[in-house]
Structures are given as structure tokens and as C-alpha cells.
């Protein structure tokens, strides 16, 4: 077992809400509510959930775009030191971005339209003092080649590229610092099916060639099933289940995971009925007492309404936050 590269321990992020001048403050949005998980080096971990579950906030916390309200995030840097990500402020965060990079969802807004592809990819090379001048140009050409772009197009501006090509430019930029952890925030959800497949393949081959570790933030379970080694399922700011991808897809233990999986069309569940949940996801300002999922859960009992389940290790592998986990199906 690899030593974890990144570890989150009881991480919380609450956004205080102000209603404006002289009005009582509203309840804070509890976007992330005490999540713990770790990412092993060389693995692809997926964080899945529906909109508003806090997965994008988690991505921002891990990349230090925002700081946690409570809890600890630690990263093992390339020289073996342990970096306390949550305590980094200002310029000190640069040390983190040498190891952790983000791939954005929207390939259009994530590239500066007024810079050429060369300038965009060379930006980290310059800022991290990796290469300058001709050396930087050569590196840019290498990176473009690696992500499947023609180096001859480096003097072009982003407007001349398609969505998939732009996403490749973003990937080349992220790879320029030779990061060890790449966080993808819905990296293929804005792309057409055929183009998304190209990008997912690129992720796989880069992982093999460069030994990258990925954290894949997505709502698309079919992407998870295809690309991830481990999965953590989030619901209303909590991780409700975590396991290896194979085990989780075979035998979901949390009722929410089960419902989510049944909504994914795939060859092995074509004949299984969809599990249609009742009701709506509660607001992150007003999380239900007890288990946050109980109002929509078909198996909820009184204990679910009163006490929140703890995130327990299961003897059959994986962890789940449920008072009455579903039966294990080997």
C-alpha cells in the first residue's frame, strides 16, 4: 500500500451568508461538512456527487484556492516534507502549486483569450523559474506534443482551437510544472462524447507515462467507472461511501450510491430497474438532522432521523456512513 499523497482529515468549509446591511445573518452554507479521505500516489481517486454536494468546494480546498474553516489537509511534497495545505496563505501557496495542478471544467473561460498558446503554457515555466527563452519554447513544444497538439500551432490564440483542443492546452499548462497530483474539476463534462473519450484516453496515457496521481471531480458515474481506481461519493457536504471502484459499482452499500448507480445506463444494468428517489436534495443552508439523506431514503428508520451515522470501515472493505448499510454482494 502506498503512503497517501494527500490526506484530508475532518475538513469543513462553511460560507457565512450576510443578508446585507443591518439584517440578521442567515444560516451559513455548509458546503463541506467534515470530510476525510486520502489519495494514494499513482491512483485515480474520484469524488462523485450531484450539483451542490460540495465536490467542487473540495477541489478548491485541495488546490488552496480557498482555505478550510476547520480540519487539516496535508500533502507529501516531492522532497518528502509534509505540507499543511490548509494553513498556506498568499505567496506560500506557490509551493503547493508546484505539486498540485487543476484542470478546469470550461475550456473556454480557463484560457486567457489574449495570450497565445505558447504564452499560456510557458506561464508556469516562467513563474516557477523552470525554463526561459528557447529552453521554454522547446519545453512548450514537448508538452504540446505530449497532449496531442501540433507544436507548430503554438503561436496561435485560443480562439482558433476547438473545445477538446482547448482542454488539451489546459492540460499541457497543468503538466508544465511536472505536478504529482492533478485535480480535474469535471474535465470532460463540457465536451462532446467523441471528444470526451479522447481526453479520458489522454488522462490514462499520461498517468501511465508520467506516474501522475489524479483526483477526478465529476457527476458522471460512467466516467468514474471507466477511469477511477477509488471512489468517494458525496451527498450534502459529506462523504457517504468510499471504496474501490470495482467494489463500489458491484456492491454499493449506501442507499444513495445505489440510487445514483441505477441512474447510469451501462451494459451491466440495462435490465435493472432505475431506483427513482423521492423528493429533492435539501439546501446546504438547512441540512436535515440525523442522517442528511434520511428524507429521501427508502430504508430510513427512527435512528436515521435522530443521529448522524459515523463514517465506518466495513469488514468487507470500503467505508460507509449509514446506520443500516445495504447487504454486501460479493
Amino acid at each position: 500500500m502506498n503512503e497517501p499523497l494527500l490526506t484530508l482529515t475532518n475538513v469543513e468549509k462553511h460560507f457565512p451568508q450576510s443578508n446585507g446591511f443591518l439584517k440578521p445573518a442567515a444560516a451559513p452554507v455548509r458546503a463541506v461538512n467534515g470530510i476525510s479521505f486520502s489519495i494514494a500516489e499513482g491512483e485515480t481517486t474520484a469524488l462523485v456527487g450531484e450539483s451542490g454536494c460540495g465536490k467542487s468546494t473540495a477541489a478548491k480546498l485541495i488546490t488552496s484556492a480557498i482555505t478550510p474553516s476547520a480540519g487539516k489537509i496535508t500533502l507529501r511534497t516531492r522532497d518528502g516534507n509534509i505540507l499543511d495545505v490548509g494553513s498556506l496563505r498568499g505567496r506560500a501557496r506557490k509551493a503547493l502549486w508546484r505539486d498540485v495542478q487543476l484542470i478546469f471544467q470550461d475550456p473556454f473561460s480557463s484560457l486567457n483569450p489574449r495570450m497565445t498558446v505558447k504564452q499560456i503554457i510557458a506561464e508556469p515555466l516562467r513563474n516557477f523559474d523552470i525554463a526561459h527563452g528557447q529552453e521554454a519554447t522547446d519545453l512548450v513544444a514537448d508538452l504540446m506534443d505530449r497532449v496531442g497538439l501540433q507544436p507548430g500551432t503554438m503561436s496561435r490564440y485560443p480562439h482558433a482551437f476547438s473545445g477538446g483542443q482547448r482542454q488539451r492546452i489546459g492540460i499541457a499548462r497543468a503538466l508544465a510544472v511536472k505536478p504529482r497530483l492533478v485535480v480535474g474539476d469535471e474535465p470532460v463534462s463540457a465536451l462532446d462524447v467523441s471528444v470526451a473519450a479522447q481526453i479520458l484516453n489522454l488522462f490514462q496515457s499520461l498517468k501511465k507515462d508520467l506516474g501522475l496521481t489524479y483526483l477526478l471531480i465529476t457527476h458522471d458515474l460512467s466516467v468514474v467507472r471507466h477511469s477511477a481506481d477509488r471512489v468517494a461519493v458525496m451527498y450534502l457536504g459529506n462523504i457517504v461511501e468510499e471504496n474501490t471502484t470495482a467494489a463500489l459499482f458491484k456492491s454499493p452499500r449506501h442507499p444513495y450510491t445505489q440510487a445514483l448507480l441505477s441512474a447510469v445506463p451501462s451494459q451491466d444494468n440495462q435490465d435493472k430497474p432505475r431506483i427513482v428517489l423521492t423528493g429533492e436534495v435539501a439546501s446546504a443552508r438547512n441540512i436535515p438532522t440525523g442522517c442528511p439523506f434520511h428524507p429521501r431514503c427508502a430504508y430510513a428508520t427512527d435512528v436515521c432521523r435522530l443521529t448522524a451515522p459515523t463514517f465506518e470501515q466495513l469488514p468487507t472493505g470500503g467505508r460507509v456512513a449509514c446506520h443500516t448499510p445495504l447487504e454486501f454482494m460479493p
Partner: protein, 376 residues
């Protein structure tokens, strides 16, 4: 793969490698009215810069024989109906026996050919280059020879020459005032948008306050603080400062808005992840993205400045004679009596209208071009 690249047309390559500025320019050129306005604005500034050369007379030349003379027409057909070189006819003064008013009639027998690059009395361009040629004039060394294309004022001064000279102040006050507003606006607006929090609150409330004050009383109050009898240059500068004190608010709002919008853009976050310092993020990533918006809104605020100067001077709060600006010139046309007798004194107003419209159309075109990545 490289084969595919070489097959692409040169046009596609040019498009692919076109910077935002080039794309913006291409978009601007499709805006016909804005392009025409650009030429008009260019011409106006050219006339203002070389006012001495382009005006047929000195702006302060008093011509006692031609007081309140009407505009002289340029004829291309002589008295016998033959086409000739363009000429003007001499003006003969006649006093009305009843009203004792001086009326001018043109004498078709006494004509003077209009000459380009005509010799004139020696004068100094910009006060130091001695010249003896003007762009337009009548050549005959005759006391009756005159070319008042837009008439004369009550002291017999050529209105056209005075408009050209007035353009110098009126047009430059727009530029200088906007430059000053720009400096204040971009600093305060940038701080407001970038830092947010209490800085933002203070700047925004100050803007609210300044914008809520009625403009004319505020001008009057501030103009009263300008000591009278100063050097016209000092007054000119003070007026610019007064205009900028009010004018920066609009620019600050634009800058703040752009900052707030850009701060949320993914590419700014991406630049941060790429290790760029805050200074580099602002200068290299954010400013180029909104520079074109700023230029457009600056262009749109120049006419406001020109109008404000005109209004101030018209009210007698701004520049005072002997300085000439369009506002000062319009002050001569304040009374109904003057307007009924010498309507040509209102022509400086036309100059203001043309300038303001040209700047507005130009600004509109620039605003559309400032986002070259939007839909066509």
C-alpha cells in the same frame, strides 16, 4: 500531422494568430459609422493642432470694416455666367437709413480668387515657428479683400478662425480631463474592485455622493474657487481638474466592474495556479483583457468633458475672453438679438454637435470591438 498544417490556408493561419487587438480592429472596421467618425475626429484634431495654419486669419485680428459681416459664399461662376476659379465677392457696407444698422451686400464686380497656401502677414505657429503662408486665403493685397467663410463677430473677428482656435482648447480639455479622470478612476476603481471589502465600500459611497450632487451648482461652487484674473493657462488647468473631479466616477465604475468580473474568470485562477504573482496577474492577465473596454469608455466620456467645458464657459464660469474655446464663442450668441441679427455666431455650437456625435459613434464602435470574441 505537419502536412495537414501546411495545407491550411494563409487566411486561416492569419486568423488563428490574430491577437485580440487585431480581431477587435477587424470588428471595428465593419462598423461603418464608427470608421467615418474616426476620420472626422482625426480631422478635427488636425485642424485644432495646426489651427494657425488652417485659419485664414488670426483669431484676435480685429477688422473694423467688417463688423458682424455675414458668411461669404465661394463662387465658381462669375457675373457673366462663366465657370471660373473659385472666388469670393467683396463686401460693401451700407447703413440702413432707418435702423442705422450696417448691412453688407456682395459686389459681383469686385471679386478675389480664393487661394490655397496663400501668403499672409507673418505669424508664428504655436508661438515660435514663423510662417507667412496660410492654408486658405485671398491673395490680392487689397483692403477690400476678405474671406469670412463663416462671417465675423461683433469686433469683426473671423468666426471660422476662432472656431479652429477654440477647438484647440475644447478638444484638448476633453483629452486632458479624461486622462486625469482615467488616472484617478483606474486607481480608485481598481482598488475598489481588487481589494473589495471596506475599500470598495468607501470608494463606492464616494462615487454615489459625487454622482448625486447636482452638476451645475457643484461646478459653480468649484469655479468660484478659481481666482479670477489668472493666466488663462491656469484657469484652463483648474477647469480640467474640476471636470475630472466629477468625471472619474464613471471610469472608476467601469474599471471596478471589469475587475470584479475578471477576478471570477477561470483563467485568472489558472494564472494564480501557474505561480503568477498578484502584480503579474493584474498587469499581464487582467489589464489586457479590459484595456479595450477602458479605451471605449474613455472615448465615450470625452464628449461629456467637451460638453461640460462648453456649458461652464457659456455660463461664464469657465474660461474668459481673450481665451477662445467653443463655450466662450457661444457666449457671444447668448442674446436673442444677436441670434436674430447674426445667426452665424451659433456655428461653434454646430462644431460641438459634430464633435460630440463623432465621439459617441466612435465610442460605440470601440465598445463593440472591445470584445472581439463575442458573436459577430
Amino acid at each position: 500531422m505537419s502536412n495537414a498544417l501546411s495545407h491550411e490556408s494563409a487566411a486561416l493561419k492569419a486568423y488563428a494568430e490574430a491577437s485580440g487587438w487585431r480581431l477587435g480592429w477587424a470588428k471595428f472596421r465593419r462598423h461603418k459609422l464608427a470608421v467615418v467618425s474616426l476620420y472626422i475626429v482625426g480631422l478635427l484634431y488636425l485642424l485644432a493642432i495646426f489651427a494657425e495654419f488652417f485659419s485664414p486669419y488670426d483669431y484676435s485680428d480685429i477688422n473694423r470694416r467688417h463688423v458682424l459681416a455675414p458668411p461669404q459664399a465661394v463662387y465658381v461662376v462669375d457675373a457673366s455666367g462663366q465657370f471660373t476659379w473659385p472666388h469670393v465677392r467683396a463686401l460693401k457696407g451700407q447703413r440702413d437709413p432707418v435702423t442705422r444698422r450696417l448691412n453688407y451686400i456682395e459686389d459681383p464686380e469686385n471679386t478675389f480668387p480664393v487661394r490655397l497656401f496663400a501668403p499672409s502677414k507673418p505669424y508664428k505657429m504655436w508661438g515660435f515657428i514663423p510662417l507667412e503662408t496660410r492654408f486658405i486665403g485671398v491673395s490680392t493685397p487689397n483692403r477690400q479683400a476678405s474671406i469670412f467663410l463663416l462671417g465675423t463677430d461683433s469686433l469683426g473677428r473671423d468666426v471660422l478662425s476662432r472656431i479652429f482656435h477654440g477647438a484647440r482648447i475644447s478638444l484638448s480639455i476633453g483629452l486632458v480631463g479624461v486622462a486625469l479622470s482615467f488616472v484617478i478612476g483606474i486607481i480608485l476603481g481598481g482598488m475598489s474592485g481588487y481589494f473589495g471589502g471596506w475599500v470598495d465600500t468607501i470608494v463606492q459611497r464616494t462615487i454615489d455622493l459625487l454622482q448625486s450632487l447636482p452638476t451645475i451648482p457643484l461646478w459653480m461652487g468649484l469655479a468660484a474657487a478659481v481666482p479670477p484674473g489668472q493666466d488663462p493657462l491656469v484657469t484652463y488647468f483648474m477647469i480640467t481638474v474640476i471636470l475630472s473631479i466629477i468625471g472619474w466616477t464613471g471610469i472608476a465604475r467601469v474599471v471596478r466592474g471589469r475587475f470584479l468580473a475578471l477576478r471570477e474568470e477561470d483563467f485568472v485562477l489558472a494564472a494564480r495556479f501557474s505561480g503568477a504573482s498578484e502584480m503579474r496577474i493584474i498587469l499581464r492577465h487582467m489589464v489586457p483583457s479590459f484595456a479595450s473596454h477602458i479605451i471605449a469608455s474613455l472615448t465615450l466620456s470625452i464628449p461629456e468633458m467637451i460638453l461640460a467645458e462648453t456649458a461652464l464657459s457659456f455660463l461664464g464660469l469657465g474660461l474668459q475672453p481673450p481665451a477662445v474655446s467653443w463655450g466662450v464663442l457661444l457666449k457671444d450668441a447668448q442674446s436673442l438679438q444677436v441670434i436674430s441679427q447674426a445667426p452665424w455666431l451659433l456655428v461653434p455650437g454646430l462644431a460641438v454637435v459634430i464633435t460630440v456625435l463623432a465621439f459617441n459613434f466612435l465610442g460605440d464602435g470601440l465598445r463593440d470591438a472591445s470584445d472581439p470574441y463575442g458573436k459577430v
